[in-house]
Symmetry: C2
Subunit: 300 residues, 2 copies
């Protein structure tokens, strides 16, 4: 590990997991942290996964790696406040789920002599806050870097090393393509889960207790995604609007195709469709991206 | 347990789980089984969870409880073949996920002196076939009975006892209401999962390997439901058409409301919506209907 001092701006699930993964490695690296919420700083201090500071200035002073771990909508302001205090040669990176927007916002705020490497670790749980972190969060997961033509190759390599040391496999990708891929594998599934849970919650002919009691028939799977951090997701949809709307439009077309097959009682079409989707889960399990245990191996 | 001989028509996940749960109880009950597929009969024989017969006639002869465990679309034919061989006083029940349709199909096929109690255990996994069963499948799960005004109260009580002995909690409900509740908690979530997986599978700008590699960002949750038995689900949608289309229509309206909020960048609306859906998961966990472990406690 070639970094000596990592500064975490934002102290939620990802920041605390980064810190715990670094400590798991037995690394002697200095880890400082900041959150604009006094309560979050207090909670992070109690867990003790990093040295918590009351100001961005004190947090980033002397750091050679600064990681923006705040919601996408707060990144630009956080960067503006940090900029004057960054050391020459420092590298800034982020963990945001949308990349083109972040590059547009962050690049102009990076001071001379400092590099920015846009990054997105594909890892997380439905829980949020500093208590939600754990050291193995990134093990076997992907981390996507989206360097632009202006990004320092040296800084990109150092950030790549960093993520590999936390257990992740690193892949480089164009930022716009990243935003489209993630709208398919993350943003659209989340929005659809939020929608389904919202519908169930207010479907007047069915009571809330019925929805809860009979949720094991499938619905409960959606509630995990729909329990994810509301502010994080608000910022993702607002700032990856075009890609999200494109895939949601495609989703609606496909839903209408299936609804029409149900209306026509076209069993053959439905069966063939469901055989194809079953196949994709097998591919995901074979690629080590999900458990093969039934029901995700859940205990309840 | 007041039944002496249970006949299982169909030898998939539910039938094998019923048998294993009965044996777990140390019950001396006779369990016979039949599947129209020779291969499935062979596999069930190898596992040895029941005495497998080559014909429905031999399977049901002398049974005092006959459980229809075939896909919804095969129930009527199975019942027609079994009817002449049922003993006087026998009780027929089923495990189908749609109830109004099954009642319409099965009731006229029940011989004099035999009772039919429509039932639906809310339990299962994405796996199917005789190997997929396990003894604890029904523990802490609900089983819904939908007796009609013609249904024998005595037979209903006996089927209730039976499901309780397998670990389930039994609830009675009107068949049409059952079909609406399940369209919210099971049928619509499955169709939406099938749709999302179908979209991801053929979204031309995103490769299949990208969909697989980055599925841990949310998408993989949908693939579990979309890996469920294609024939079972074909029959459910075709035979619970009206309720399924009603809730899917409601889903589309709601999706459009959220899409419109994204288009207008209405962050406040989105955040409030996501806070509400987060709450519902807490309720489900408190009701013991899902695990509180992050990521469903999955190991990968």
């Amino acid at each position: 590990m070639s970094f000596k001092h990592v500064a975490l701006l934002g102290l939620g699930l990802i920041a605390s997991s980064i810190s715990l993964a670094l400590k798991r490695n037995g690394s002697e690296i200095k880890i400082t942290g900041f959150s604009r919420s006094k309560e979050t700083r207090h909670r992070a201090n109690k867990i003790g996964f990093c040295e918590v500071f009351e100001s961005i200035k004190d947090c980033v002073s002397g750091a050679d790696l600064i990681i923006l771990c705040v919601p996408v909508g707060a990144m630009a302001d956080t960067m503006s406040v940090a900029a004057p205090y960054l050391s020459k040669g420092a590298i800034v990176t982020d963990v945001g789920s949308v990349k083109a927007h972040i590059i547009r916002e962050i690049n102009p705020r990076i001071p001379k002599g400092v590099s920015f490497v846009p990054a997105h670790p594909i890892a997380g749980t439905e829980n949020s806050g500093p208590e939600a972190g754990f050291a193995s969060l990134f093990d076997g997961r992907w981390c996507i870097l989206t360097p632009t033509s202006e990004t320092s190759i040296y800084a990109t390599l150092k950030v790549k090393d960093f993520w590999q040391s936390l257990g992740a496999t690193v892949q480089e990708m164009d930022a716009d393509h990243h935003d489209l891929v993630l709208s398919v594998t993350s943003h659209a599934p989340h929005l659809i889960a939020f929608t389904m849970v919202g519908v169930a919650d207010e479907f007047a002919q069915v009571t809330k207790s019925e929805v809860i009691n009979y949720s094991a028939a499938g619905f409960r799977d959606f509630t995990r995604l729909a329990a994810s951090d509301p502010i994080m997701w608000r910022d993702i949809f607002v700032n990856n609007k075009d890609a999200a709307l494109e895939i949601l439009g495609r989703f609606t077309e496909e839903l209408f195709r299936l609804q029409s097959a149900i209306r026509r009682k076209d069993g053959e079409f439905l069966q063939k469709y469901f055989e194809r989707t079953r196949e994709l889960r097998r591919n995901i399990i074979e690629a080590g991206q999900d458990t093969s245990e039934p029901n995700f191996g859940r205990k309840s």
